[in-house]
């Protein structure tokens, strides 16, 4: 494989140096690790069952027994927040996977086989004629509310943008000498695509992944809020906010905690994404002053 300007990822130890200099990003990484730990250890660390309804404990303010208070069914908000971390990660990883696999396939194949590209990229154009949230909204109306459908729909929405980006980059790669060289040695199409072109796309894909992960959180929360996302019984941060809407005047904590979790997580992922993107920028070395 020949290396192009597209892969300028730094060695791992350099990231430690940069993280040390960008303290805020370091905090963001730690926060994300906490979220991952919470998601993995949810059954052991959450003080109550997130689905346990208790009519006596309705809308209790945050206290020593219920740190984040309780909701209108008397369910413990902290426990639901902890389980919500699981949903956040499932939605994020799932959407990233769908968007990147689909988008890379469409983008690379379209660039490599130009006839097929005309058809595929036209399809992408049509889907991109719809505003992102609107497209997600219509598709979710067609499908049942479920975790898998939400992941598929959000993934599809970002598949189009990924396909566009990868298409552009693959077109450039296709014109490179090393692809011609591989063709001359008799390499098959799949070998050229997978062994020669794909490795050059890893770094932009990684950056793209971080931003899709962040956007997916906001989109999923918006869908939940409109009643078209995850099934209502699933304890996701978006669903918690959707339910809290009626009670905001009596129980503002129901709005505050899940909201802050979404904001902090999306903020942290964006910071990490910025770091990844900057590390691909050749001018990066003399410009590490930003946040």
């Amino acid at each position: 494989m020949s290396s192009l300007g597209l892969s300028l990822m730094l060695p791992l130890q350099n990231y430690w140096c940069i993280l040390w200099r960008r303290k805020l990003t370091l905090v963001a990484v730690i926060w994300l690790l906490v979220i991952v730990a919470a998601a993995l250890l949810a059954p052991w660390i959450s003080p109550y069952d997130p689905l346990d309804i208790n009519a006596m404990d309705r809308l209790l303010e945050p206290s020593m027994t219920h740190w984040f208070g309780t909701d209108n069914f008397g369910r413990d908000t902290l426990s639901r927040c902890i389980y919500g971390a699981r949903m956040a990660i499932v939605i994020g990883l799932g959407s990233v996977l769908v968007a990147l696999v689909g988008g890379t396939l469409i983008g690379m194949l379209s660039a490599y086989f130009s006839r097929l590209g005309h058809v595929l990229m036209r399809g992408v154009d049509v889907l991109m004629a719809f505003p992102a949230l609107l497209l997600a909204l219509i598709l979710m109306t067609l499908l049942e509310r479920s975790i898998v459908n939400t992941v598929l729909v959000i993934g599809l929405v970002y598949m189009t943008t990924t396909a566009r980006i990868i298409f552009g980059m693959s077109l450039k790669l296709k014109g490179e000498v090393f692809v011609d060289a591989a063709l001359c040695t008799g390499a098959s199409h799949s070998r050229i695509l997978l062994k020669h072109m794909l490795p050059n796309l890893w770094s932009p894909l990684l950056v793209q992944a971080s931003f899709i992960f962040a956007f997916a959180q906001l989109q999923a929360a918006a869908l939940d809020f409109l009643g078209l996302g995850l099934p209502p019984e699933v304890p996701s941060w978006g669903n918690m906010l959707a339910e809290a809407r009626i009670y905001i005047t009596r129980a503002s904590w129901l709005l505050t905690f899940p909201g802050l979790l979404i904001i902090l997580s999306v903020f942290s992922i964006n910071l990490v994404g910025d770091l990844l993107r900057d590390s691909m920028d050749p001018r990066f070395k003399d410009d590490i002053a930003g946040v």
Binding site: A129, L134, F225, T249, I263
Partner: protein, 315 residues
Amino acid sequence: MSVFIIKRLLSLIPTLLLASMLIFLFVHLIPGDPAAVLLGDLATPEEVAALTTEMGLDEPVYLQYYYWLTHVLQGDLGTSIFFQVPVLTVIGDGAETSILLALMTMIWIITIGLPLGILAASRHGTIVDQLCSGGAMMAASVPTFWLGLYLILIFSVGLGWLPSSGFPSLTDDGGVFNLRYLILPSLALAAPNAALIIRLVRSSMLDVAREDFVRTARAKGLHPTRIAVKHVFRNALIAVVAAFGFTFAALISEAVVTETVFSLPGIGRLVVQSILRRDYPVIQGVILVIVVLYMTINLLVDLAYARLDPRVSLK
């Protein structure tokens, strides 16, 4: 330039046609029978069947699409099943709210985003820059509906300064003062978008500042303010104009959430409500209008881009 415009316009036609097919198909795949929904729970199967025939819903889908498209091309989007008035009238009723909301949001974005972006770029690397960029990234991480609910909690419920929901028309009692109903919604909608503009103005100004002609200007001994305004900002504006266009286009769909939070009688809420009511003609019409609007704005952005940067149309 004119060749470029014509080319771009022509390329819209097949995309639009395919999009209209997709909209029609989507809407017809939505589970639920509009005739049954319209007649309610007490209707007999015969009544439902009769209404289905009357509405033409028993015809093959491609024929229904053909009828719909030919009517649309004549400016007739059909009749709302729920309201029993033309779809265009229903959309027109929501347009005032949505357009005013979008305009107010753009005003916030321009008055907050632009100055802060320029400030961050001109104080590059200082604490001011870090606060602006960090704040912008934080604002971009907030779900708009959450921000909307919190604004209601603080300014409507807590302080009682501003109304929390609804929007009477400007022609109703109160006149221009009715715009106060849109202050909180537009702020909630503006926050993440202003954040994008701040980041974009900052980064494109920094990009331009690295160019050779800026160094030349500096070497000539020009005043820093003059360099910032005349040389850097002017060239950075190209990217910023494009961003404004895309932001405006994005507002259309983001308004769906904001209008729902603040119960505004706009086009965004119309989308959600007509989906819930299974009002096929309205769903189709509204989505078509939004898609056409979205594509038009994107086209205008492209043209503005080509106008500001002659290299674009030459490609």
